[in-house]
């Protein structure tokens, strides 16, 4: 490639990358501004006086336990919501991945009636929007008296994560050669031993990829949390931070600081998983 072409490509890529990253850079800049500077016109691109007040308020603004009852600002719940989101994301991911891994293995190694319809079911579940699932699931939770519990949210997220976990694990196991397993079986190993000692280690990259997708989808969901949960202390992060809009004036620094903190875990996961992400997308397993 000629140097001047490369130079143009770099310039174009740089410009596009800047535009794409701008909303988040702007969020970081805003989150570090003191209140009077936020409302200045024209806006300052980078804060003249950097302050971490917004982050301090979210992370050390006093916990709910120390000041219970009404009058607690929503920001005091931030860490509780953060914890809730972690619990429900991990909980639903464990369920979806376990179910999907076992079934995908069975689907690719055994023959049985109805087998061929399973991928169709997965792809259907994959396309059905949450807004169709959420109300029937909600009414079921009401009759089971499970609403407003983290457990109900975990079950709700299985609805949206299971189909693509199954899809991804299925695609993955199809690509794993069966010969090693057969050799082990011939040598007298039981099916369960083969699964634990040979299949699971080989399947690990697929499991990691599917888990990351599942974590992202559950962490990012808003609808289920909005419909299922009531109490402030039980909300997931996504639903919680929307309460920052409830006051008479909007505290944009607080809003942007919570945006940054909320994106952070996903950004860290993303850093680890970039390789897997592409592999997973390649297999067509992604929810959008």
């Amino acid at each position: 490639m000629r140097p001047w072409i490369a130079a143009i490509l770099y310039a174009v890529l740089g410009a596009i990358t800047f535009v794409v990253c701008f909303p988040l850079l702007w969020a970081i800049s805003t989150s570090l501004k003191p209140k009077d500077e936020i409302f200045r016109w024209p806006p300052t691109i980078w804060p003249e006086n950097v302050t971490f007040d917004a982050y301090r308020e979210l992370l050390f603004g006093g916990s709910v336990a120390s000041a219970p009852g009404a009058g607690v600002p929503p920001s005091a719940y931030f860490l509780t919501w953060f914890g809730n989101s972690i619990i429900v994301s991990i909980g639903s991911t464990i369920i979806s991945i376990t179910v999907a891994t076992l079934a995908a293995y069975s689907l690719t190694r055994f023959r049985f009636w109805g087998q061929r319809s399973v991928p169709y079911i997965a792809i259907l579940g994959y396309m059905v929007p949450s807004v169709i699932f959420v109300f029937p699931m909600f009414l079921t939770m009401v009759s089971l008296e499970l609403t407003d519990t983290l457990f109900s949210l975990i079950l709700g997220y299985v609805c949206i994560t299971l189909p693509f976990c199954l899809w991804l694990m299925w695609a993955f196991f199809r690509g794993v050669p069966i010969e090693i397993e057969e050799a082990a079986l011939v040598d007298g190993a039981t099916r369960l031993q083969v699964f634990r000692q040979i299949v699971l280690p080989v399947a690990l990259p697929g499991i990691i990829a599917a888990s990351i997708f599942s974590l992202i989808v559950s962490w990012n969901d808003y609808l289920f949390g909005r419909v299922f949960m009531n109490s402030m202390e039980n909300l997931p992060l996504t639903v919680g931070v929307m309460h920052f809009f409830d006051g008479t004036h909007v505290d944009w620094a607080l809003m942007m600081a919570s945006s940054v903190l909320m994106t952070l875990p996903m950004a860290i996961l993303f850093g680890f998983m970039q390789r897997h992400l592409v592999a997973g997308f390649g297999a067509g397993a992604v929810k959008g």
Partner: protein
């Protein structure tokens, strides 16, 4: 004594959780949604659910807001999908160039996909704030506009902002899929074309595009279906407003169920969405050849 399972039992045992889960998390909610669409549901008397036949469907189909939402959903889906496909292919071609440090660019350009919708919606509200938002400031200072645009409180601009949000977040999806396909096009094709004297544009038109056609068709069907049914992107940005100018069917169904407490009507709207979606997925199966023995994956 050690408990030993036969091969066949293991196969069945491993399938059981899935069968159970599909029953609980897929079949049951959809069946319930269909059932709800035929009853009147009163949240104050949840046990009393009289069968009302097609009343809920008639209500939906006679509701002007439903049709408004439907047409707005088409505008929203059409623009979003076209922009995502065009920008996505362009970016993928760019990211496919053999340059140093390309992995860093790839990472940064794919990043929006993992950002929570709530975060993007909050950022958008801030960026497009009509009084002190940076977008108005930048447009004013470059001279593209003469006065501040009320992005989120004029109907067409609110729709445009929502579409921009959707394009920003989901173009990476197109990029990754197209990029993966680009990497499998044999380089010999390009070498041969070069020998024959084909320029960059000819090579793009005669090799790249035909090779991408299939995967692009699949991506476009997927994006169309998903975008059409999107809820959070619009709800969190505009709540369907100003007025009802950015409603789509998902917002309509949500609103009927939650704000108007007409679960039956909401469910009927949901079932109509589901029917449209099934039609769409038929298209997907056709386009992709999914389920054919040779390319079932």
């Amino acid at each position: 004594m050690r408990f030993r399972l036969s091969d066949r039992q293991v196969g069945v045992l491993f399938m059981l959780p899935l069968i159970l889960a599909v029953g609980i998390f897929l079949v049951w909610p959809i069946a319930e949604a269909v059932r709800l669409s035929f009853v009147r549901y009163n949240p104050l008397r949840p046990d009393d659910q009289p069968f009302v036949g097609l009343d809920n469907y008639l209500f939906v189909l006679e509701d002007p807001l439903f049709w408004e939402s439907f047409w707005q959903a088409i505008v929203w889906t059409g623009w979003s999908t076209v922009l995502q496909a065009v920008i996505g292919v362009g970016l993928a071609l760019l990211l496919h160039q053999p340059l140093k440090g390309m992995n860093a660019f790839r990472g940064l350009l794919l990043f929006p996909y993992i950002v929570p919708t709530v975060v993007i919606a909050l950022n958008w509200r801030w960026l497009f704030n009509s009084e002190i938002g940076i977008v108005n400031h930048l447009l004013l200072s470059v001279g593209l506009i003469d006065e501040k645009i009320a992005w989120l409180s004029t109907p067409s601009m609110a729709m445009a902002s929502a579409i921009m949000l959707n394009v920003w977040k989901y173009t990476p999806f197109v990029v990754i899929v197209v990029l993966a396909r680009l990497q499998t096009i044999p380089t010999e094709l390009y070498d041969a074309a070069k020998v024959d004297g084909a320029g960059v544009l000819r090579r793009f038109r005669d090799i790249t595009l035909p090779q991408l056609a299939e995967v692009l068709a699949v991506v476009i069907v997927f994006r169309t279906i998903w975008t059409f049914n999107k809820f959070e992107e619009i709800y969190l940005l505009t709540r369907g407003g100003p007025g009802t100018s950015t409603y789509n069917l998902a917002l309509y169904a949500f609103d009927q169920s939650i704000a108007n407490l007409r679960m039956g009507v909401g469910a009927a709207a949901g079932v109509i969405m589901l029917v449209l979606l099934l039609a769409g997925s038929m298209l997907y199966i056709r386009v992709s050849g999914f389920g054919r023995e040779d390319k079932a994956a």
